[in-house]
Symmetry: C2
Subunit: 337 residues, 2 copies
DNA sequence: ATAGGTTGTCGAAGCGCTTCGACACTTTCT
DNA sequence: AGAAAGTGTCGAAGCGCTTCGACAACCTAT
């Protein structure tokens, strides 16, 4: 293992000079810098992370807490994680992967031990147990998701309220009057993650303004659950012609069942999904959808943290404006054609 | 920030005694131990990770290199990552998330800086650039996947050869003679990740023994690509009654297209998939499948590393025996009924 | 020519922990 | 009873780095 001191000796300078070449915190003459850099290369020097962390009280690590569940939104989570890791590297940070399993203890452990300089939390609940801890520390953090009380916190999320509104507007413009919303599994609502409710609220209030009828049904993923849900919907509102789906694992079953019942998409029935683009484009019908901007959220989270660690930036809540992409699953309402 | 010294003072012992209470590396009397533990609790002490790493040259971190691609096997990757993180915590390790992006440089950086004590590599190619580096260091590592040359390496993977054989045996037992294999996208084969080829080899050689005909077609995911592929298959081998699919994003399109063509599953055509259980059970037909044991691989990788770091364990290649679960997508061949 | 300001480099202290050898004390064996 | 072995604790060194103050050496303005 090559040390700073060896590099210094090799280059004929003092250790501190090498350190300053590395960090750029003091000016170094061109000649010295080149000599040192040359030595670093020749010796294959890598600064020791532990020593660095100890001396500078900076680990250059960002902790990312992902949910333990692997049953929901997996691609989104993964995409966020990758975006976080990639962006972090761009800024000289590494990423520590924590699972939600440990809960608040993980937060305590990480902040207490100086393992990480900052944290990103995913899968935030409305009254998340970890929030008081975050407020009580001076370690920067970003939530991906929106808790009930955001005072003193930085959050980023898709504007799900606007997303709901956008979906219903699109359907309204096409002449649909009876809208069914197929939501996440009941468990998601019970967990109070918030995003599902926000979508619904946004959607309902816009629907009221536009004078549309909305029927909301939570739904487990899979074909069997979807079949039951769909039957109930058409039973209660036979005139339903517009669907908004916010449940990845219900998308394909819905399309299959509609097809099976002889309801053509988009001729008889229109479907708008709230899902990652990949799901929307790989479905059996290319879906009109509002994308979940996973990459953008991950990137934003890291960049905000880096700014804060550099002494810039402040607390804020950023809601990303939804974008609706029209594909092949929505069209004029049958009565309007 | 509470330090070891403060704990020591509070408990009325020396710093080294506290350290030994924490590590258990020397015997400590019950009374002292309790006093120290009490102080730790009262002060809310957390050992500083950097100092610890520096003094002990152990970071208690395991690096996990995940592929950058988010287009393939995402749920499997995620499941492995979660299993790795969970198992690591059980053994007192944290997990550093690296993306494949940096390639061999990441390996150099991590081993050089002592950021991590060990590494787990996913998405290993047959002649992976990172292998020479791993062989040239004394830092333990585990590959999830199988390169061409495994000398001096520890690897864990599903036994894809046996998997292929198992699929074809199952179909043979049901009386199918003409088997079509729908593989990964051509890019996967070109990348030489090995697993796809191994499945195919195992499948083909067993098919030869059982006197079956096999037609292999790589396939991009999605409906359009699948439609083309399927048409070609039935064109070339109209008598095909058995399918083996090793491509998550081809599964649902295949089922939909078969249905659309009036070929009932499993009455007219049987389908065996190689995919995570979640995909198999959530598909429109509950699929007979060989599961990809993501959790098991993740857990094994960590446990092997921990053993190695503790001075136990040695290099070895572990191939996990495939298990075929019969569900609703396979049945007797039509001619045999 | 001299005070004042820059610029580039160095030495030393110290970050918080682990670990080694030493040492006092107790127990066990002959 | 004395030597040998085991127990529990301490002090000090040192892990590899950052950072602060000091200080030559040089440049500019007067």
């Amino acid at each position: 293992m090559v040390t700073l001191a060896e590099v210094a000796q090799h280059a004929g300078v003092s250790a501190s000079t090498v350190s300053y070449v590395l960090s750029g915190k003091r000016s170094i003459s061109g000649a010295t810098r080149q000599r040192v850099e040359q030595s670093i290369r020749e010796l294959g020097y890598h600064p020791n992370a532990g020593a660095r962390a100890l001396a500078s009280s900076r680990s250059n690590i960002i902790a990312l807490m992902v949910p333990l569940r692997t049953d929901m939104y997996v691609p989104v989570m993964m995409e966020i994680a990758i975006a976080v890791a990639t962006t972090a590297r761009l800024h000289g940070y590494d990423v520590l992967l924590l699972t939600g399993e440990e809960g608040p203890d993980a937060v305590r452990r990480v902040t207490g031990s100086g393992l990480a300089d900052a944290m990103i939390l995913m899968d935030v609940e409305l009254a998340d147990e970890r929030l008081p801890l975050l407020r009580g520390t001076d370690q920067p953090s970003v939530l991906i998701g929106l808790p009930a009380d955001t005072t003193g916190l930085t959050c980023v999320d898709l504007d799900f309220g606007a997303t709901g509104a956008l979906c219903v507007e699109h359907l309204a413009k096409l002449g649909h009057h009876d809208i069914a919303v197929i939501g996440e599994a009941p468990a998601v609502y019970e967990r109070h993650t918030g995003f599902a409710e926000r979508t619904l609220d946004g959607l309902r209030s816009r629907a009221r303004e536009l004078d549309l009828r909305v029927l909301h049904r939570p739904c487990e993923g899979g074909y069997d659950a979807m079949a039951v849900t769909l039957a109930r919907i058409f039973d209660e509102r036979p005139g339903t012609t517009g669907f908004v789906v916010q449940n990845e694992s219900a998308v394909e079953p819905l399309l299959a069942l509609l097809r099976q019942q002889g309801r053509a998409v988009p001729e008889d029935v229109s479907v708008v999904a709230v899902c990652p683009d990949q799901v929307a484009t790989q479905a059996s019908v290319r879906l009109t959808s509002v994308a979940i901007p996973a990459q953008e959220m991950g990137r934003y989270a890291v960049e905000h943290l880096v700014a804060k660690l550099d002494g810039r930036g402040s607390d804020e809540v950023v809601l990303i404006a939804p974008e609706l992409t029209v594909r092949a699953s929505t069209g004029p309402a049958p009565s309007a054609s």
